[in-house]
Symmetry: C2
Subunit: 195 residues, 2 copies
């Protein structure tokens, strides 16, 4: 790799890091070209030397945030038995992650994507993320219960929509109004899916 490319990657990295920090702490409303560039240590127009537009930059953060979420979840499901027990724990941790970082939830699911770049690839990454998190445990569950692959696919989708629906109403519509009720509702709904 040439020095030029090292430098380019380095500077892109400053911008990505700045964007991620803002997204984590303030969500998308904190994102502006000037704010990100200021935090990256460059003039705002420099951003366009490296990214097609501001939206492209924020969606570049998705992969990193998925890795962070992996870590977050791994710490919380440690010790859970593979299969149903671990699926429950992953689901709970997934909810916790987005409740803690609502700005990232917004990025993953709500914000319009850039007209540039690999939107299709990013969309698929986002769509299938939960499946990847739970991949092994679905397999264990499937083998144990002897449920058909077709039905497992449906359960996967039901889990996805349920978790995202719960988060969407809680984070975006403050419904239910309290965290306690949110947790209670999520537990009931998840119990319905498995049981």
């Amino acid at each position: 790799m040439e020095r030029k490319q090292i430098q380019e990657q380095r500077i892109r990295g400053y911008f990505v890091q700045a964007a991620k920090d803002i997204l984590r702490s303030e969500g998308l409303k904190g994102i502006s070209v000037r704010n990100v560039a200021q935090n990256a240590g460059y003039s705002y127009a420099t951003l366009y030397n490296y990214f097609s537009d501001i939206r492209f930059l924020v969606f570049e953060c998705v992969r990193d945030f998925q890795e962070e979420c992996d870590t977050f979840i791994a710490e919380r499901v440690e010790g859970a038995a593979p299969g149903i027990e671990r699926l429950r724990a992953i689901s709970k941790a997934y909810l916790d992650y987005f409740v803690e970082y609502p700005g990232i939830f917004e990025l993953f699911y709500l914000e319009k994507m850039s007209a540039y770049g690999n939107s299709k690839e990013t969309a698929e990454l986002i769509y299938s993320y939960l499946d990847k998190l739970c991949e092994n445990d679905w397999t264990v569950y499937s083998v144990k219960t002897k449920i058909s692959d077709e039905l497992i696919d449906k359960l996967k989708d039901q889990l996805r929509y349920t978790l995202i629906g719960l988060l969407l109403f809680y984070l975006n519509r403050h419904y239910p109004g309290t965290y306690e009720e949110f947790i209670e509702r999520s537990e009931k709904q998840l119990a319905y899916i498995w049981d």
Copy 2:
């Protein structure tokens, strides 16, 4: 009612109508103070004589759009037998409405609410809207199947999250990529819920 109030309501109505027209045709990206006011026939700053902010105005449109959606759905489910058959038809029509008006979907579920006004009330209106649409048919279904009220509540939530999840991914993440696949997926998921 005094003449002054009649006039106030009339002018508010112009703004609401303008906002609704823009939302229907262009979605939230077409909404700006200047664009709405232009279409209402007033200067942009006049809007603040009647509404706390632009966001308050667009959320004032929710009730009207729910009534429009009622009409849209009623036309499409005519003739369906009360109960499961009608629940299926309502679900399908609900998806169709938002596919036709993605801007309204965004307003209902994605856009941040105003700091002013009855956000809580609007949130509840949005949350419970699907339940209202299906109220009679859930009752018929419950009586026919003898399913407990508790389980019916869970089914209601499952239906809500599934429909919104399907729409969210399709409209916001273009996943699946084709309308045909979207329909196929929705039919499979809905079949899973009822069957």
